[in-house]
């Protein structure tokens, strides 16, 4: 499997995710936002960070980058796209995923481990989560408050397009374990064709027992499962 991590000015999890991809033997290339064409690739990753300093709206300026046209073409062809944190915000601004990410309800940046329920395992990113549907991953964001109007929420729920929801350690999806105010505790969504995943938590930060867990590894091993 081949991947391309897009580097925007202000991306800062680009290296982290590249390390994770390579750890699971995915052949990765870094791609500069100003390039017009993606190299031959199966997976495009939009990494976390503060592209353009989060100025204007998070992900907005990056979504106007040159490379985005080709990322959209890749999406239309059914190619895989993973957006983590700022990458998720960019996907939304680029119109590849629905909804919007607002300021965290507490108006504070939040960096901590959260429990997540894997709601949909029927996509290339979550295949291996099947037997382990309550996982722990770190979040680190200021604007992760997923907001969707009623109709959209219903559409996402009805079509099973939600990948992860914030939950407590017993897997219960409740208000107290919603760190940022997201509608229906949504932490990650997938596109209708299930080839695009956007998520606020950082799987690439938990791929090593030394870092107190490996729940992130499962996402990467899912990717290479054929």
């Amino acid at each position: 499997m081949r991947s391309s991590v897009i580097v925007f000015p202000g991306s800062n999890c680009d290296r982290d995710v590249a390390v994770a991809l390579e750890k699971f033997h995915i052949k990765n290339q870094m791609v500069w936002h100003n390039d017009t064409n993606l190299p031959k690739t199966d997976l495009v990753v939009l990494p976390g960070g503060f592209s353009y300093g989060d100025y204007l709206r998070t992900g907005c300026i990056a979504s106007k980058s040159k490379i985005i046209d080709d990322v959209i073409r890749h999406a239309k062809k059914g190619g895989l796209i993973l957006g983590i944190c700022n990458g998720f915000q960019i996907l939304i601004e680029a119109g590849l995923l629905p909804g919007i990410l607002l300021r965290n309800i507490g108006l504070r940046f939040l960096s901590k481990n959260v429990f997540l329920k894997v709601v949909n395992t029927d996509n290339q990113f979550c295949l291996n989560y099947k037997n382990k549907d309550i996982i722990q991953l770190p979040i680190a964001h200021n604007e992760g408050n997923f907001f969707a109007k009623k109709e959209l929420l219903k559409m996402l729920e009805d079509n099973n397009l939600i990948a992860f929801k914030y939950c407590n350690k017993n897997g219960e999806i409740e208000e107290n374990s919603n760190p940022n105010g997201s509608s229906n505790n949504i932490a990650g969504v997938i596109s209708e064709k299930k080839n695009i995943l956007g998520m606020m938590p950082h799987p690439e930060r938990l791929i090593d027992p030394l870092l107190s867990g490996e729940d992130g590894s499962i996402l990467f091993t899912s990717l290479i499962k054929s």
Binding site: L56, R57, C60, K64, E93, I100, L102, R103, N104, I105, L107, N145, F147, K149, G181
Partner: protein, 79 residues
């Protein structure tokens, strides 16, 4: 020409910042403030003497960049 634009969240979109500001204002003892919404304000310097043309350009910029039409409205103010 200097033109300004304000971008605000649509009515039915949650505004966490405005809400928090409102709460703080109340805590500070200003009891009669009942609602606050927070938006963005832009002052744009444009090198275009024709007012109509300038207006068109700014409209375009508001639509394509400064606001996200899904959740935001914009207003352009000509001085």
């Amino acid at each position: 020409m200097k033109i300004s634009a304000t971008v605000t969240l649509k009515k039915d979109v949650l505004d966490p910042q405005g809400k928090a500001v409102n709460q703080t204002i109340k805590n500070m003892g200003f009891k009669n403030v009942t609602d606050v919404r927070q938006g963005k304000y832009f002052e744009i310097e444009i090198d275009e003497a024709n007012k109509e043309k300038a207006k068109e350009i700014i409209e375009d910029i508001c639509k394509k960049l400064l606001s996200n039409v899904v959740i935001e409205d914009y207003i352009i103010n000509y001085k």
